[in-house]
Point group: C2
Chain length 428, copies 2
């Protein structure tokens, strides 16, 4: 039954792939209108979800994430309006080349196909994800948090209704409601082209471990700040503080601080004071503990994503040691060097193998909105397809269109073969 | 032990990533010299491999693939020289953006890391693959065919020797020799970033089924030619013949011909005659058999990659039916429409979801060299990362370099947030 449902989604995607930018934007506009018209229905569903969650004793932070009030609906509507203004990622000419006279090759972006999206709790994510998929011509199979089921149903209805109003299929999105369906979805590698999970590390890791479908995302986000011997003390402290404390619960927050031995004397005291003032618990290696009073960092601290006001601190003898530490314990997310030495900075940025490599600024800038990508699907620590913050461009692939006039390969092979011209064509 | 070996490869890759284009080209040049100097050693190893293979009764086509004679060594040397002339895929600026004054973001290509390459028989593939990896800054763990073991050892030695001569690490390539090592390699998803298998369908499928590492490649290549009702008969026949017979054993050869009902009367007789003259066995659906004498096509024919002079033929009522057949039975490799109707052609190219969509030319053009990509790693039918023929550009990923002057995210958040400028920078 799931297979049949997802097959319908795949068929609908092929209709979606044929829509013009104007048609897709019109549906986005209609989704916004539909949400505004459905405030009462959403409120009703919210009440059911929230009282159920309270009965089940959901923790206050999770309860808070569950809320979709008028203000959040307004934000969602603004989001779909912003999305309309972004360039259509589909149909972009990546390359254009004449192979021979009358034989022209175009590499053109197109939707990936069917996206499987599994996310936890926050129901507004459903609308954001579905909108991004629509804009990029992808169909989507969604599974949201169990706690938000009633709300997710209403939101799905709104989007389907908006699609019908605009005269397009409403089968391009499909809401799954059970865990078994998610397990089933992970097996449909002939129907689903990409899985994007959003949620806790263990949740994402579980998805990655249980499917042959490509997965876009990240499990851990263990980001490092390395304070070089040539660092400006003020910058080092403010970058470290911001990277650790501005929003500790997110993947681009800093978890480990690496400090060059030659700057320890100057920086440790004011740094430790600032961190303590901000309520940060320090866990230091042996050398660190010789300079400041703090808990010891155990072996597992270096590979722990605290997502909390805790910072592990290690003193290193050289940038080489810092880079080696990052490659050993990091997750390839985002790392920063603080230094006034441009050559040293360039070497760090070149050598560190992470999605984001920063010089003299907070790791917290690793974010699709801040990068100016418009909307963000998530942050990938993988090296294949898309890396770092992934915007609409990560939701398309490309195809090769070859326009001929009867050419056959035999004429370009063997003795007396016609040569190819391989001339770049002007891209319109 | 395998883990230790591949860890050394990963370490060596980090050295490789720091090489300049000139350094990499110098090693390529040295590989070419080293091969020429090693003709005797290669011939000796060849003799051992070939007599062993003959004793084991290897089939003549496989024996032929095993041969690495002087002529093939010359071709290999020319290949590494051509590769030197190609642009370095590493260090290319994909995008450059000012986020704010003094905060600049660059999206820059970089190597993927460690590539796992598993290929069958042909020992020249070892040199081609290693050269492509070197040029793109990737290290490589290789497993070639068992039959070519002695030759592969000598070739590996040559490349390592050339690396040492140029003063770089020789640990960036590692030859595996047993099946168990391949099984072990497929589990090293923390060390190996991408697997590229080259070989039979079942072999590639096996690899895809047994690893969590991303795989780039294709299993089946079931390509279609669709002859539209508005087709030019001469073009239709020559494209079909070329696509089927120019080299039937390869993935971009045509396996199924779809013919619009309205053109059957005109095309079937001359087409069938040409195919028969070329020694092609036709397997037709019921309608086809009403027009020409041929074997019946069974259900499994539509999803069979013959790799031989066999062509399944089906009559369709419309382009819709043709596209639907392609989506049902195709492998997403390459499909061609033959028609004089441009609108119809554009619709086909837009709607068919395959890596290559061609108009009035043979499917055999789906090839990295013919596309002008320079060298080709393989052809991918996946939609993630790279699709269709994959050249050097498919062997790199990118990182985001952010150059700041002490910026922290708190200044761009909440009430009184500084706005981002998000201004595109001129790319040098």
């Amino acid at each position: 039954m799931l297979r049949e449902a997802v097959t319908r989604v795949q068929t609908a995607q092929r209709e979606l792939a044929g829509l013009t930018s104007e048609q897709k934007n019109r549906v986005l506009q209609q989704i916004s209108l539909q949400l505004q018209d459905s405030r009462d229905r959403i409120a009703e569903a919210q009440q059911k979800d929230i009282s159920q969650a309270e009965r089940e004793g959901l923790s206050p932070p999770l309860l808070k994430r569950l809320v979709l009030n008028d203000e959040k609906i307004d934000t969602l509507c603004r989001g779909t309006e912003d999305l309309q203004r972004l360039a259509d990622p589909v149909g972009r000419v990546i390359s254009a080349r004449e192979l021979d006279k009358g034989l022209e090759l175009y590499q053109i972006t197109c939707p990936i196909g069917v996206i499987g999206m599994v996310f936890e709790s926050r129901p507004d994510a459903l609308v954001q994800i579905a909108s991004l998929c629509l804009k990029s011509g992808n169909a989507v199979v969604l599974k949201g948090g169990r706690e938000a089921l009633q709300t997710n149903r209403v939101l799905t209805d709104c989007i389907k209704e908006a699609s019908r109003t605009c005269g397009i299929t409403d089968q391009w999105l499909c809401l799954l409601e059970t865990r078994d369906e998610v397990t089933g979805m992970l097996e449909l590698d002939d129907l689903i082209d990409l899985i994007i999970p959003r949620g806790s590390n263990s949740f994402v890791q579980y998805i990655m471990d249980h499917t042959r479908i490509p997965v876009l995302g990240h499990a851990d986000g263990i980001c490092h700040v390395y304070v070089d011997e040539d660092a400006d003390i003020i910058k080092a402290i403010s970058v470290t503080l911001d990277a650790k404390t501005q929003y500790p619960a997110v993947c681009n927050a800093c978890e480990t601080l690496l400090v060059h031995r030659n700057i320890v004397e100057k920086i440790f005291e004011p740094l430790a004071e600032s961190l303590r003032e901000a309520g940060v618990e320090i866990r230091g290696d042996e050398t660190t503990r010789q300079h400041i009073a703090c808990k010891p960092a155990e072996a597992e601290d270096w590979s722990t994503e605290y997502l909390d006001l805790i910072l592990s601190v290690k003193v290193v003898d050289s940038m080489d040691e810092a880079i080696s530490h990052i490659h050993t314990y990091g997750s390839g997310h985002t790392e920063c060097i603080v230094t006034e030495n441009r050559e040293q900075a360039e070497a760090f940025l070149h050598r560190v193998d992470s999605a984001g490599v920063f010089w003299n600024c907070s790791t917290r800038f690793a974010d699709g909105y801040r990068y100016g990508l418009g909307a963000e699907v998530g942050i990938s620590t993988q090296k294949i397809h898309a890396r770092g913050p992934v915007g609409l461009e990560g939701m398309v692939t490309y195809k090769w269109k070859l326009y001929g006039t009867g050419q056959v390969s035999a004429d370009y092979s063997g003795a007396g073969a016609k040569p190819f011209t391989h001339k770049d064509l002007k891209q319109s």
